[in-house]
Symmetry: C2
Subunit: 679 residues, 2 copies
Amino acid sequence: MCTFASYSASSSSSPPPHQESSPRPSPFMSPTTTIGAKGRAEAPAQAQFQPLLPVQSPVPSDIAIAQSITPQHISKIAEQLGLKADEYDLYGTTKAKVKLSTRDRLKDSPMGKYVVVAGITPTPLGEGKSTTTMGLCQALGAYLKRKVVACVRQPSQGPTFGIKGGAAGGGYSQAFPMEDFNLHLTGDIHAITAANNLLAAAIDVRMFHEAAQKDEALFNRLCPADKEGKRKFAPVMLRRLEKLGIHKTDPSDLTPEEVRRFARLDIDPTSVTWKRVLDINDRFLRKITTGQGPEERGQTHETGFDIAVASEIMAVLALSSDLADMRARLGRMVIGNNKAGEPLTADDLGVGGALTVLMKDTIEPTLMQTLEQTPVLVHAGPFANIAHGNSSIVADQIGLKLVGQDGVVVTEAGFGADIGLEKFMNIKCRASGLKPDCAVIVATVRALKMHGGGPPVVAGTPLHHDYTNENVELVKKGCCNLERHIKNTTRYGVPVVVAINQFASDTQAELEAVKQAALESGAAAAAVCNHHGLGGAGATDLGQAVLEACSKPSSFQFLYDVQLPIKAKIETIAREMYHAAGVEYLPEAEAQIERYTRMGFDKLPICMAKTQYSFSHDAAQKGAPSGFVLPIRDVRASVGAGFVFPLVGSMMTMPGLPTRPAFYDIDVDLETGKITGLS
Amino acid sequence: MCTFASYSASSSSSPPPHQESSPRPSPFMSPTTTIGAKGRAEAPAQAQFQPLLPVQSPVPSDIAIAQSITPQHISKIAEQLGLKADEYDLYGTTKAKVKLSTRDRLKDSPMGKYVVVAGITPTPLGEGKSTTTMGLCQALGAYLKRKVVACVRQPSQGPTFGIKGGAAGGGYSQAFPMEDFNLHLTGDIHAITAANNLLAAAIDVRMFHEAAQKDEALFNRLCPADKEGKRKFAPVMLRRLEKLGIHKTDPSDLTPEEVRRFARLDIDPTSVTWKRVLDINDRFLRKITTGQGPEERGQTHETGFDIAVASEIMAVLALSSDLADMRARLGRMVIGNNKAGEPLTADDLGVGGALTVLMKDTIEPTLMQTLEQTPVLVHAGPFANIAHGNSSIVADQIGLKLVGQDGVVVTEAGFGADIGLEKFMNIKCRASGLKPDCAVIVATVRALKMHGGGPPVVAGTPLHHDYTNENVELVKKGCCNLERHIKNTTRYGVPVVVAINQFASDTQAELEAVKQAALESGAAAAAVCNHHGLGGAGATDLGQAVLEACSKPSSFQFLYDVQLPIKAKIETIAREMYHAAGVEYLPEAEAQIERYTRMGFDKLPICMAKTQYSFSHDAAQKGAPSGFVLPIRDVRASVGAGFVFPLVGSMMTMPGLPTRPAFYDIDVDLETGKITGLS
């Protein structure tokens, strides 16, 4: 059992849900070492790889490095990856959207190895999971000469301008150009925002118009007569009719009762769970009242905004297999229920098709490159705490086909393995049918010291000297966190490789302690990496360990049977992954579970909304806590995405800005046109 | 004096601010005629031009036409226009962003003729201004063999899913593919939304943090000490220091009084005029209360959302000459004032640079094409009623350089000439220094009948038979509206050509009446056009008339001296353009004018926010009303955009959705992947 540091977030600048920034070590110029499964330190394996990048010490800022290297034209990257000219659309010279026709063309080709990168429970500074993903791919591609694709998530612009800065990796392991990666990209999150908010507007305005009109007037407006007095149903209306069991195609044939049932959604305003979103850290939108204008006739609603990447539509994007699947999922998203307690969908509101049209281009992943010109597919969004937080199924599938039999796809799961990886295994792999060949768990000495009882690590304030001076005991105590993540992950039947993301202040004894703990906990291998300081050359050991792990037999299995009742699934995750002693449901959660079960939404997997800072619901509980009772405050059904979404404790779904947001440093150099201050 | 029809908008589906959809005439297969300045009907001039497009009768739906024609790869369009390969970035195969370096390269080249397209006071169905712009360019380019560029505005997605449908023109005169044109385009409006709302979040959170912290704590957070205990100012902070007259660069040198003045913005919450925006018709966001969450500690704000294209940032985009100018304008946008009454800017909040970074790519216009493969530059946004509503200065400049001496740029001004064209002349041309060679005013028999006293024209309901049967008297009476627009426009010293956008039900006698009235009112020429049914072949007479008008000498002049006081400028527009008898200022407007004058913002041009449906403030006053008193309800200063913004009567800045929004018809054909139901 570990010592737990007491940790509390600054109340005046609530921490963003996403805190996966890369650490900023100086390069550790001595060659890194690997420890094999037998636990003996091997000779430095890496001396043979000289960095191909012009690395400097100390490591310059991320943006300075990114801007000092000229990216390849993205069509070259596409060509080297095996894409045909009509299989991608350029978005400038450094981004391209890859068409799903690629996957169709390669449907009979063998797939590469499938590697998922997760992490230990992070500090608010992040442990370099994205950096490790990039470094590993640079190692595999540029040094170990494997065909490789990194599949990562598009960052939210909220934290970019808030506390975190960008999310493209760091040091000499980055997806770049970072300004393209971090800002707008190819517009997927903007499309999600537009679609999410169109649905929100449709809900409110439907209640408004229904309140003002009798059944027939409502029906006449929904199915207006044309010049010849003929009415017809829009195709989306046929979906609602089918759901209602009305098998008629001519509006004139409906009975008055059918007219009423069709036209009047009768939305229960207290049941509406659909919120608006923005990709901005705007805490003043967390809780608002809308409809206060005189034209809205007193129909006010208490509601709020979430950060856009937490939208169910982001999860739909991540989990859709193609456009038809996306259309179906968007149409069946449940926004609440009618006064009789029946669920109401986007298609009931007539907007499922329009949402798909808004989202049409987002189904295509965006191709970018690392600093060492290996391909990166950017798709879907972050925040594995308040959302699903995994990159998309289609990006992984396209990548696996493109790299082929000897190649590797490295896909990133958000935050600690208790949330991001658990969702990867039980939601994403269940939806895709893909099975990972290896899981990489990223650990840092810094985070393990915190888990061992080190003082709080707070973004924006200097680190305590415990973190900058050797303290092997603290590291050893904190390894309980790593141990649990490894054991949890091996339960899925997948070999685990631990990537120790090395910082300049880490000592050999500290690194050794981590390696020993990793191997004793069942990891197939553990590799110290310095890809931040050296690029791919600093992660070739990790690359070799991953290749070796991938060659081992694996026996993938889910954690739970999706047919179990909602509570049984929640309790399995709580017990097996978090080591909770029990689960406590607040009345609202009980009521929703009962409601969703009645509606038939109980056969979906579970997407826990839980803090990333602890195995438990309490961010202050570091290490490997157990014996706690997990509180389920509320439960949502994301029927379109395809999961049930329990809210564990008080999870903030809209971050705030601190007193000095990151935007203070961000500007354009008007001489060169280059962006400054992004990190 | 005309008869005025009484007109009232449906209260349950408030009309969108933007209603410029193209009419849907069948092609008028007889050759069209032109009347020269002497008023004699000339022989059909157009028989020589056979349509190059495979035109059908009746005219299919806009999307059916657009999807039946294969667009050229946009790089071909770019090449034909004279763009070099490194002067544009592809966004897929049908869109490209054009770099400002093009303008720099051609800085010594001669410019083409500059034609602005405006309209008479429209019906809610729109009179086909965008369609005429496309048809005119197709005529000039594909038939009259001039190098031509159409400069149009990116449509708002709000009306696309609301009442209006798309805005790419119509029939055989379109910018296409219409799904690209109408949805997302290259992300400019999304960037505006992101920037606008980042500023809004920055305002609220600054008030929040200032309320919680004393001067020194605030300063310490804004300028934190690094590891060596050294502080420094971010570059954007130096702008604030300069404004405050504090000429110091080391934070440690500031006196406590200077610390207070620098760190404490002391925002007066009642003065904040900056609202949030979404590109959605979401009436429930018109008036809201924010900050109701417990963490916001009771700091609630009454505020609201506008439609995104009404953001000041859209006007900044439209009026900026380059990135440096955009940076300066974004930084000096005024969001309200401090409790001492001094204006506060985006740069005071430290966010001007970040806004520029978000907006960086938007400075480049998007190249598309018409159905007859002439180039179109899409840039900036619509809504000349509640916004500036003109396409951008840089697009016009790039176009004028690219077409060269014998070429033509046709740029579109929103809505009727009383608002869109007036702003084009007095705001846009003042900022750009460009002078138009010709103004085209688009008129329809339908709208003129309405102005002559015809019954209300309401979107979504069948037209009264007055509009489908001949009624020459009604047309003649309504020509008072056209007459006034022509006379208003000739005041600017620019020749006027009237484009009569012909509908299938228009009779020869009705068209004749319009032509006569146009020429008697001082138009240089009037041409009946059927570009909707025939493409450019239907607008060659108009093209020839425009070329002839452009060859005449013009003597461009502004309507008012920008150095006049605010009220004098407002009153000049009210008297000379609207024919108001006087102007009445509500107390709030008086107070703001006084405040802005004191702050030194009185030397800016005026951007009236007025209904598009009448010369007056009252949409029901059709024809050419006079003698009314114009009510100024409030006044805003858009200091970054560079204009003062009086609100005339009650202008809605966020549209609503009707009972049956356009989104009901919009879907994806899952077989073909094509979009259906856009119009």
